[in-house]
């Protein structure tokens, strides 16, 4: 009561805004997740009757080689992907934000990969990997190009990665562009007067100013890459030899299509905790960077 009275008008407004938003968020995100959490202690198939099985699903999870393999694949994929996506999209954003011709058209074109549906991606890239690249490999007599990368147990993940990055760059470029927009034009002018070259300009001026966007992009791209699903569905279906089964793919395929809803809910709970931990780590580290600068 007392505290409420003490609250300034400004604080009251803030709370009036945030409480309905929290209720909405709780109802459609936290509540169903809690239900999913409860199912993770059952052998629920997604329909029909079920029994509580205690911690069995969690114990199984840590002894399941397939789940272990999917974690390894997913992390390898996300790590390589995050670096590639962020470097490429920052370069793209700088390019698309500089004084070029056809700016609007070019931006539109580079945006297309992200809106192509899974069926198109699956067909076209399978064709490129299966037929075109091997044909080029044969013509130029390059041995390692002659077999489809998607059919190689060792390298199929690279094929998936190429497509994943190709699609993800579009989204992260947009965020970087809007970040670059916050850098006032006169900063560059001041720079030019100082005679700073492009490299120093980038590292001394641009980068520090867009650090908040680097944080956002790192968090978002890591998250998106960790949750890789569409590219797997359309390119490899987890193959060859189960070498590209991502965690999300397992959770979806076995939890929804298969009858492992309970077990995969447990998997999802652990996966959720893992990504949250990674993201908090990223945000804290980069948050410190932001303060330093």
């Amino acid at each position: 009561m007392n505290r409420l009275k003490k609250m300034s008008n400004r604080d009251k407004t803030y709370w009036a805004i945030i409480i309905p938003v929290l209720i909405l968020f709780f109802t459609f995100n936290t509540l169903p997740m809690l239900k999913g959490f409860v199912y993770s202690f059952t052998n629920y198939r997604g329909y029909g009757s079920y029994e509580y099985v205690g911690l069995r699903n969690y114990i199984d999870l840590f002894s399941d080689a397939r789940v272990g393999k999917s974690y390894l694949f997913t992390f390898k994929y996300a790590l390589a992907g995050t670096v590639l996506v962020n470097v490429l999209s920052l370069i793209m954003a700088l390019g698309l934000n500089s004084r070029i011709r056809f700016k609007s058209a070019l931006r539109g074109i580079y945006f297309i990969p992200n809106v192509l549906g899974g069926l198109v991606i699956g067909y076209i890239f399978s064709f490129i990997f299966t037929y075109i690249i091997p044909a080029v490999g044969t013509a130029l007599n390059i041995g390692w190009l002659q077999n489809s990368i998607l059919a190689s147990e060792k390298n199929a993940w690279i094929g998936v990665l190429i497509v994943g990055v190709w699609q993800a760059v579009a989204m992260n470029t947009i965020i970087y562009i809007s970040g670059l927009q916050t850098v006032p034009e006169d900063v560059y002018e001041a720079c030019m007067l100082d005679g700073a070259n492009k490299w120093t300009e980038f590292f001394k001026v641009t980068l520090p100013l867009v650090v908040p966007f680097v944080t956002i992009n790192l968090v978002l791209s890591t998250k998106n890459l960790l949750m890789v699903f569409d590219q797997i569905m359309s390119l490899t279906k987890g193959g060859p030899a189960q070498s590209t089964e991502s965690i999300s793919y397992l959770i979806y395929r076995n939890g929804m299509d298969g009858g492992q809803f309970g077990f995969q809910s447990a998997n999802a709970v652990i996966f959720f905790l893992v990504i949250v931990a990674i993201s908090i780590f990223q945000m804290t580290v980069l948050g410190k960077k932001e303060e330093q600068l």
Binding site: F25, G36, R107, I112, Y123, P184, E185, E189, I216, G255
Partner: protein
């Protein structure tokens, strides 16, 4: 203000060359959309060749199969509805959180709580959500919009609070002295200043919703309403896919979102122009 208007041609050319990575796959999709199923082949030269006949027949047929205008209407309704509400609600929520996060622990916790929602795999939410929306009478388009609003809330709040760091608090404090309350200050001053971010949020949210199959599939099942991606499932059955019609349909559904993106790009630019004039 003196402005350097020289055009960087080297960069322009490099970027144009780079578009091959986009145009090549797109070219393949495009010619497949014009071909007949009997023209499909595994032969590289044949696959890259022009169709025997340039006919819009596939497009017409694809439009018919997907009940194009109706499905497009639903897709537009859901995407635009989500974007509109997202810009209004997420931006103001992002503002409330962003302006208090540094000082108040409670808001810092709320921020982390909402942002962590981004990492919940949809699969775990799906079954409970299906039941919940049905019980609440939300097994329809409105339900899908509400769900999107919640799914994209973490990302959008992350974006808005990030952007807010670059908008000085001084502006609001000045207007606070004027006697305007927080609510009014926000809509009058901050909301317009965030327009590059509105455009970004609009594009990213649209990206997520436009092609999404799963949410409308499970939430609107049985309502008889289709979005474009749902209608496009017509081209795929268990043992056969009509790639020609499917690609024609995908190309058609690419156009609206591409236009939307280009419009939003202008918005980002004009937002900066406004900022520059005021600054």
């Amino acid at each position: 203000m003196k402005k350097d208007t020289r055009i960087n041609w080297v960069l322009t050319v490099l970027l144009i060359i780079g578009t091959i990575t986009v145009f090549f796959p797109l070219y393949m999709a495009f010619i497949i959309a014009f071909k007949q199923p009997s023209e499909m082949t595994n032969d590289v030269a044949g696959a890259l060749a022009f169709p025997a006949k340039w006919s819009l027949g596939n497009f017409a047929q694809a439009m018919e199969v997907t009940d194009f205008w109706h499905s497009l209407g639903n897709s537009l309704l859901i995407t635009l509805g989500t974007i509109g509400l997202a810009i209004l609600i997420h931006s103001v929520a992002g503002y409330a959180i962003g302006r208090n996060m540094a000082k108040k622990k409670s808001f810092r916790i709320i921020y982390l709580y909402i942002v962590s929602g981004m990492f919940v795999p949809f699969s775990i939410l799906m079954m409970p959500l299906v039941k919940q929306t049905a019980q609440m009478g939300l097994g329809n388009r409105l339900g899908v919009i509400l769900l999107y609003l919640v799914f994209y809330m973490p990302m959008n709040i992350l974006l808005y609070t990030g952007y807010l760091k670059n908008i000085p608090v001084v502006l609001e404090e000045a207007s606070g002295i004027d006697g305007a309350n927080t609510w009014k200050t926000y809509w009058r001053i901050i909301f317009p200043m965030m327009s590059p971010m509105h455009a970004t949020v609009a594009v990213l949210t649209a990206l997520g919703t436009w092609n999404d199959v799963m949410t409308p599939l499970v939430i609107m099942a049985g309502t008889g309403e289709n979005t474009l991606p749902l209608a496009q499932l017509n081209f795929q059955t268990q043992f056969g896919t009509n790639y020609n019609l499917a690609f024609a349909s995908y190309i058609l559904s690419l156009i609206p979102i591409l236009i939307f993106y280009i419009v939003c790009q202008k918005q980002i630019l004009s937002g900066v122009a406004n900022g520059a004039v005021k600054g």
